[in-house]
């Protein structure tokens, strides 16, 4: 998101899900769409049936690769090399949209100079993708009247995550694929309301609608609305807070609806941090692995038991409606937070989720025109600045939020960990169709467990042979940070030298292995690459 905000002025999906079906070319990179965003996966397959050209780049031969025109099996962490290689071809062959570049962008020459050395051969050497496929992919993408890029954590969860996004933005800017239907640069957000949480400023440096805490006017506005004095210095990210806990700089934590013990990198370290904490409150629907370490656990209601809104990946604000009363004594999260605020001496008197939403709309320009009444039929996409505004399906039409779209000169650099003698294999992680994140919810449905009841680490047949490992064998997987045991699935859908695990299973907690090194700009941890050793258990 930081990357997009830098070059365009706002970080969100630029186009809508519905448009995917009508795109003329689709470039899917670092997204196992049919498993992680199945409905968008349906749209991609439909687009292909209607004649769209599909390019898939992923270290795993995901199911979308089966219907792709070109599949680019890049080595984990080499995205910039691959994308710069495509840009090199697009520039050399004159496949750019010169008018768009001239009228709507800046920094083209710097970008051009940066990609000069990324010949298809050089890009191939780094990424492992055949040079001729890089050329084909470049021509397919740039040759289409409208081409869309869909990406997820496979692009961002790298120490070079922001650079990966910037180089993708270069691709879109160079081909004029912004501000029109069936095009754009589209991060598919993983969780039901990650967009809403970001929009609300559940981030160290911004209030709602991305108004900076360091901005005096913004701060004054929220101080007035909340009747408090607010700090102006941005705070710590989650990863930074965990590090700080070890040094006693963070002594207490309030964790709502998250299970960092399983979802965050370097789980062993997280466990140490949480245990070190003087006081920890966890608010959740189940006694998660993280909740077990808490001093106080507060029972929350599920989405079926509360009112509110979720904001989807295309910025669509939609109504969640209460269907049941909360179980036992559990309560909707906002009610719990309000009760605590009252105990802490604040005079809060929200009577409904709707009243909170109206306050959000008052304080947030991009939400100003929204109300529960208006959201009844299918939701509205922000920005929606006034009650007459229909919402904004496509961003950056005619003009970018920051004015001109900015090209960036981006160079490939190595991931924080490389395969070496001691840890010769790269581990990459992700999710499966049948489970969600740390499995807290999905593992409660027996049928889903029938399809996927335990970790099945994907291992290439070549590596399996060399290591003397067969299908269903149990192995230990060891990184510099920890060891887990896992069952093995031998498949050539994963490339040699790389293994894949999910993080759904507490008993095979893949995040005990992963690296907490972060992208220096977006602070996203490098969950998609770490070096491991695989041994028969």
């Amino acid at each position: 998101m930081a990357g997009l905000a830098t070059v365009l002025g706002s970080g969100a999906m630029t186009n809508t899900i519905g448009e995917v079906e009508d795109a003329k070319a689709i470039f899917v990179i670092g997204s196992n769409t049919t498993e992680n965003h199945p409905i968008i996966g349906y749209r991609i397959r439909k687009a292909v049936k209607k004649g769209a050209r599909l390019i898939v780049a992923d270290p795993r031969e995901i199911r979308l690769a089966d219907v792709a025109d070109v599949y680019l099996p890049l080595k984990p962490g080499t995205d910039v090399a691959l994308i710069n290689g495509m840009l090199h071809v697009i520039l050399k062959e004159g496949l750019v949209d010169s008018e768009f570049i001239a009228s709507r962008t800046e920094g083209f020459e710097d970008m051009k100079a940066a990609v000069e050395k990324y010949t298809p051969e050089y890009a191939s050497e780094i990424s492992g993708v055949p040079a001729e496929d890089i050329v084909r992919a470049a021509r397919l993408y740039a040759g289409a009247d409208s081409a869309t890029i869909l990406y997820t954590m496979g692009v961002t969860q790298h120490t070079s995550g922001t650079e990966n996004v910037l180089s993708l933005a270069n691709l879109v800017l160079a081909t004029g694929n912004f501000g029109k239907p069936g095009a754009g640069l589209n991060p598919l957000r993983g969780q039901n309301n990650v967009q809403g949480a970001c929009d609300m400023g559940a981030l160290p440096g911004v209030y709602t609608g991305y108004q900076p805490v360091a901005d005096d006017n913004a701060r004054a506005k929220f101080e007035k609305a909340w009747c408090v004095t607010l700090p102006g210095k941005p705070g710590m990210t989650m990863t930074e807070m965990f590090h700080a806990a070890v040094e006693d700089r963070i002594r207490a934590m309030y964790i709502m609806g998250e299970n960092p013990l399983l979802s965050d990198p370097d789980g062993g370290h997280i466990c140490d941090c949480l245990e070190k904490m003087d006081f920890m409150v966890v608010q959740d629907i189940f006694l998660t692995e993280t909740a077990k370490l808490a001093d106080v656990v507060l029972p929350a209601a599920t989405f079926a038991e509360k009112d509110g809104v979720f904001v989807n990946t295309e910025r669509r604000v939609q109504r969640v409606c209460r269907a049941l009363k909360p179980r036992g004594q559990s309560k909707p999260d906002w009610e719990i937070i309000q009760l605590l605020a009252q105990k802490l001496g604040y005079d809060w008197n929200y009577e409904s989720a709707e009243q909170i939403f109206d306050e959000i709309a008052e304080l947030t320009p991009s939400y100003a025109g929204l109300s529960y009444k208006r959201l009844e039929d299918g939701g509205i996409q922000w920005p929606c600045p006034n009650p007459e505004h229909p919402g904004t399906p496509i961003l950056h039409v005619g003009k970018f939020s920051r004015g001109l779209g900015k090209f960036s000169a981006v160079d490939y650099r190595l991931s924080a960990e490389q395969a070496d003698e001691e840890f010769p294999i790269l581990l990459t992680t992700g999710r499966s169709l049948y489970h969600y994140h740390t499995g807290t919810m999905t593992r409660k449905t027996e049928g889903l467990n029938q399809f996927h009841k335990e970790e099945l680490m994907e291992l290439n047949p070549e590596d399996a042979k060399a290591l003397g490992i067969g299908e269903d064998d149990i192995v230990t997987v060891t990184s510099r940070r920890g060891t887990v045991r896992s069952k093995v699935h031998v498949t050539d859908r994963i490339q040699p030298g790389v293994v894949f695990m999910t993080f759904h299973f507490a008993e095979t907690a893949a995040n005990l292995l992963t690296n907490s090194e972060v992208c220096h700009i977006a602070k996203t941890p490098e969950l998609k690459v770490c070096a491991v050793r695989v041994e028969k258990a």
Partner: protein, 345 residues
């Protein structure tokens, strides 16, 4: 526009429309089994037979022409319809009461329309050949004794989600809906989204352990960032079904396996139902007042001793926007911006 006459009713429709489209426009019922508005036309069931300009045609496939005269209830058409339905019924499982589609079944509807008498039925019906029900999928069964070979499931799998797990297999009277290599459903390439089950006109693809909800509430799925519109089906104090919202612009009624079938966590006995406080290393039940008093006093103590930046808040991408807003308000009001959530995970 093309103008035609359906049972003497004049109707004008776009060029390229079918007789079926035209009949729908003026609210004239034509029976059909294999037609589905969201799928390509198959024209396989022959139940929509009508007479157009004196010839028998299938209404779902026949394009309209100017001045065309259509007779829906023509003698020839009736004969074909009756024969098709009777042939289907001879092989169809007669136990309607235990079928999830009872009273909501296309075959019942069409049989009722063509008028099958008990005498005819008794004469025609053979005992259903022993066909094993494929119960391998945890969410829905394939009961081929209730299948009418309309192909809606096959087209759904190909056209809606692009998986193409199903097709017609075998020949003649042995024709059946099968997976690649006639594997059990759970061992096939099927992704268990249940779209076929939702569109099945009979009880051939039927939800396991189906409980009809007492009421439905329109909401949004709580799993991934797509944000599919859903109808939560409620029975008593439990969620018993999830159905895609056809009017939602995001998913147009479609869902994936998690969204449609993964709702059990809401009803699960492991749900937290009271606050818990750790005493002597054990989490024990407490009242809301006890728990919140403890949190408030410990937060105050730690802030007094070490300043507000010794406190951190992790909000949640799983909670509502309103939940997130009040969470940020509380943490920032306490004097710190140490606030984040799992946006990067």
């Amino acid at each position: 526009m093309v103008t035609l006459y359906i049972d003497d009713i004049q109707v004008s429709v776009e060029k390229g429309s079918t007789i079926f489209d035209a009949a729908q426009k003026v609210g004239v019922y034509i029976p059909t089994l294999c037609h589905h508005p969201e799928l390509h036309t198959f024209g396989g069931c022959r139940v929509c037979m009508v007479e157009a300009n004196g010839k028998l045609v299938t209404a779902c496939r026949a394009p309209v022409t100017d001045g065309m005269v259509v007779r829906i209830d023509a003698e020839g058409a009736r004969k074909v319809q009756r024969m098709v339905v009777e042939l289907l019924l001879t092989k169809h499982n007669e136990d309607c009461q235990t079928c999830v589609k009872d009273s909501n079944c296309k075959l019942q509807e069409v049989a009722n329309y063509v008028g099958i008498t008990p005498e005819r039925m008794a004469m025609l019906r053979r005992s259903v050949t022993e066909v094993e029900i494929d119960e391998s999928n945890p969410f829905f069964n394939i009961d081929r004794t209730r299948c009418i070979l309309c192909g809606i499931c096959i087209r759904t799998c190909e056209e809606i989600n692009g998986v193409t797990a199903l097709d017609f297999g075998f020949r003649g009277e042995h024709t059946a809906v099968v997976t690649m290599g006639n594997k059990k459903l759970a061992e096939s390439t099927c992704e268990s989204c249940g779209e076929c089950m939702e569109r099945c006109p009979t009880g051939a693809l039927a939800r396991k352990n189906y409980e009809r909800p007492n009421r439905e509430v329109k909401s949004v799925c709580g799993y991934c960032g797509v944000g599919c519109g859903i109808h939560l089906g409620v029975r008593g104090d439990r969620v018993v079904s999830v159905r895609g919202d056809k009017d939602n612009p995001v998913n147009k009624g479609q869902l994936c396996v998690k969204g449609r079938f993964g709702y059990n966590f809401v009803n699960h006995p492991d749900r937290l139902t009271t606050p818990l406080i750790k005493r002597d290393g054990e989490l024990v039940e407490a009242s809301w007042d006890e728990a919140l008093d403890l949190v408030a006093s410990r937060f105050k103590e730690i802030i007094d001793e070490s300043g507000p930046n010794a406190l951190g808040g992790i909000s949640s991408a799983r909670c509502t926007t309103e939940d997130n807003y009040v969470f940020t308000r509380l943490i920032r009001s306490l004097g710190t911006n140490n606030l984040d959530h799992c946006a990067r995970l």
